[in-house]
């Protein structure tokens, strides 16, 4: 496969102004990924600052309730800043520092990646600007405050649908304005090469740990790994070290919003077609003339019209399967996990929990399922309360 390509997907479809920046990034990453000193520093940060390894927890009550596969939860919600996003951010911020950059910029949907970036910027003394859809700044007001508290400038983006896609576009525009001292910490396995590869490598720690932890607890591989998919960074992280283990079912759970037969959906594999956008060739929700669709999901983090190129390829080859989960199902699962296990998952992660509730009973009691709980749900409580008709203030 050509470098930077996953089958036909991937590539570098960006303005010439950014080309030297991504080439420079590729060169730096190729060097530092094999640099023992860089890896020692990163491992130290992941362990002592982010709190890795994250726990692999046996969800006994949920397993009993569903009556099928034995269910383990990979607790990325227990990481510092409350989500898997920190894994990638620490790696990229350290890389930016090694490259001599003094400023980082980032897009954010739910705000988790923005918070993680603001955190790493504070830790490493970098200037930080975060772009967030105006709609999302309302849905996730608490995270906006957290970013400001951490010293970042938050720029609400009012173009387009005022959501994640527009935040990505605006961060790309910002990068073309100021490149020399600035690194763009892309938050998902998307965008132009080398971002999908860099982000995947930094997130692959999730599946590496799952494999080791499950080997220790059960002495074997899981039968299925489930994760939610927007751009797809927590999912690729949870899948990566199992891709060669063909007996492990890999299931990505997309946000169907109000349903894949409605226009209010963000399920790219279910409703999108091949296209070129945000620097990559992949699947995108779009109309017959290639105009990007104004997608919708209750989850600001999954509310994106595309999917990372490696997922598109895993879909093409049949190695991973992608299912769609509605708002209603995700909200039910959000409440279910809270009551069943005393764990409030992010509404994004609740999409994976929702599908697990369907899949686990169909599996045998001797089988094992791992659900990646990509983040914690505190940020979502007010929005879910409103969804249930309860008007609370954050």
């Amino acid at each position: 496969m050509k470098e930077g390509r996953f089958g036909v997907h991937g590539g570098q479809y960006i303005p010439e102004t950014l080309m030297n920046a991504v080439l420079e990034l590729e060169k730096a990453y190729d060097y530092y990924k094999n640099d023992p000193e860089f890896n020692r520093e990163l491992q130290g940060l992941l362990n002592d600052y982010a709190g890795r390894p994250s726990r692999l927890y046996y969800a006994g009550r949920m397993t009993e309730d569903l009556g099928g596969a034995k269910i383990y939860l990979k607790r990325e919600d227990l990481n510092h800043t409350g989500a898997h996003k920190i894994n990638n951010v620490l790696g990229q911020a350290l890389l930016a520092k090694k490259m001599g950059k003094t400023r980082v910029i980032a897009e954010t949907g739910a705000g988790q990646h923005g918070v993680a970036t603001a955190t790493a910027a504070a830790l490493m003394g970098l200037e930080c600007d975060v772009f967030m859809g105006e709609e999302d700044t309302k849905r996730q007001a608490l995270n906006v405050y957290r970013m400001r508290l951490l010293g970042a400038n938050v720029h609400p983006v009012s173009t387009g649908t005022g959501t994640l896609k527009d935040a990505v576009s605006e961060t790309m525009r910002e990068w073309t304005k100021r490149i020399d001292d600035t690194h763009y910490i892309l938050g998902s396995v998307m965008g132009p090469h080398p971002f999908p590869t860099i982000v995947r490598d930094f997130q692959a720690v999730i599946s590496k740990e799952i494999k080791e932890q499950l080997m220790e607890k059960e002495g074997r591989l899981p039968d299925a790994v489930l994760a939610c998919v927007g751009g797809g960074s927590n999912a690729i992280g949870a899948f990566y070290h199992f891709i060669e283990d063909k007996q492990v079912r890999l299931v990505g759970c997309e946000a169907a919003g109000r349903g894949i037969s409605t226009a209010e959906t963000a399920a790219t594999i279910a409703t999108g077609k091949l296209g070129i956008f945000h620097g990559m060739k992949s699947y995108f929700c779009q109309d017959e003339y290639g105009q990007i669709a104004p997608v919708y999901s209750i989850s600001a983090g999954l509310d994106y019209p595309g999917i990372g190129p490696e997922h598109a390829w895993l879909h093409d080859t049949g190695r991973a399967e992608y299912v769609a989960v509605t708002d209603d199902e995700a909200v039910d699962a959000f409440e279910y996990l809270a009551r069943m296990e005393g764990i409030i998952p992010a509404i994004e992660s609740a999409h994976a929990v929702a599908y697990a509730r369907k899949l686990a009973p169909e599996m045998g009691k001797d089988q094992i399922m791992v659900i990646n709980i990509s983040g914690r749900g505190d940020k979502d409580c007010a929005a879910i309360a409103r969804y249930r008709g309860e008007d609370i203030y954050e």
């Binding site: 010439e16 102004t17 173009t159 896609k165 527009d166 990007i292």
Partner: protein, 257 residues
């Protein structure tokens, strides 16, 4: 001589950009005739895209207005075909990769060539990805226009050596839009390009005043103006034709002053 080459035969070329369908395709068509009369040497017709990542607010808004008015690639092809029966002014499409790709790259390029377009500019297709589009463009005789930017440095020679039609020299960092000052050494960019190719070089991004047009034209073979014209279209709506015509006349004169 092809039509794009002829655009650079009448002194410094003045190249205006307009967004198709803003405010309507009827006005877009009239604008083409008016701008040609006013001295435009080559016309860039923007096919609107929902999420134009290389554009500033002015052209972004024009895209949104045009799409809200129901403009599609097919309607634009029909308009271009009508225009070509009445004028030989060189015309190129400027749009984003997904507009071409989703239409079917070959189907799009074949149609563009058939209706009389001369070239295609895709700001999100850099040198590394161009072959996918360039090979089809070559087959149908359309020039795929290459861009160089202030950050291109050593890439300029590589890009210029394979450039077709004209070389689009991006004057400034950032997205499209009016700028009060242009600090890039455009002359140096053009010089590097000319070392490897005799391709005409046109400078765009940020140019709006006669003074800028004059100064940029001295360093290159032509100037491209987008946002300043699109702004007039936004400001005057269906009555924009006289204002745009007068502006183009002044800018063409300034570029050659």
């Amino acid at each position: 001589m092809n039509r794009i080459e002829s655009a650079f035969e009448k002194g410094k070329a003045f190249i205006p950009f307009i967004t198709c369908g803003d405010p309507s395709l009827e006005i877009t068509e009239q604008l083409v005739y008016a701008m040609e009369e006013a001295g435009a040497d080559l016309i860039e017709l923007g096919i609107p895209f929902s999420d134009p990542t290389a554009e500033g607010p002015v052209i972004m808004d024009a895209n949104i207005r045009a799409l809200a008015g129901g403009v599609t690639a097919d309607k634009i092809f029909q308009m271009a075909e009508r225009i070509r029966t009445r004028t030989t002014v060189p015309m190129v499409f400027m749009t984003y990769a997904n507009v071409v790709f989703s239409y079917g790259t070959e189907r799009f390029i074949k149609k563009a060539a058939r209706v009389g377009m001369d070239g295609l500019i895709l700001p999100d297709v850099p040198f590394e990805e161009k072959e996918e589009f360039a090979q089809v463009c070559r087959k149908y005789g359309l020039a795929l226009i290459s861009l160089v930017a202030p950050t291109s440095r050593e890439r300029i020679r590589m890009i210029a050596s394979e450039a077709e039609g004209f070389l689009y020299c991006v004057s400034s960092l950032g997205v499209t839009g009016v700028r009060s000052e242009i600090n890039t050494d455009v002359g140096e960019m053009v010089k590097m390009a000319k070392e490897v190719s005799n391709i005409p070089c046109a400078v765009g991004f940020g140019i709006s005043t006669e003074e800028q047009a004059h100064s940029m034209a001295r360093q290159a073979d032509g100037v491209i103006v987008g946002s300043a014209i699109v702004k007039l279209c936004g400001q005057y709506g269906k009555d924009c034709i006289p204002a745009v015509k007068e502006y183009v006349r002044r800018m063409k004169a300034a570029a050659n002053g």
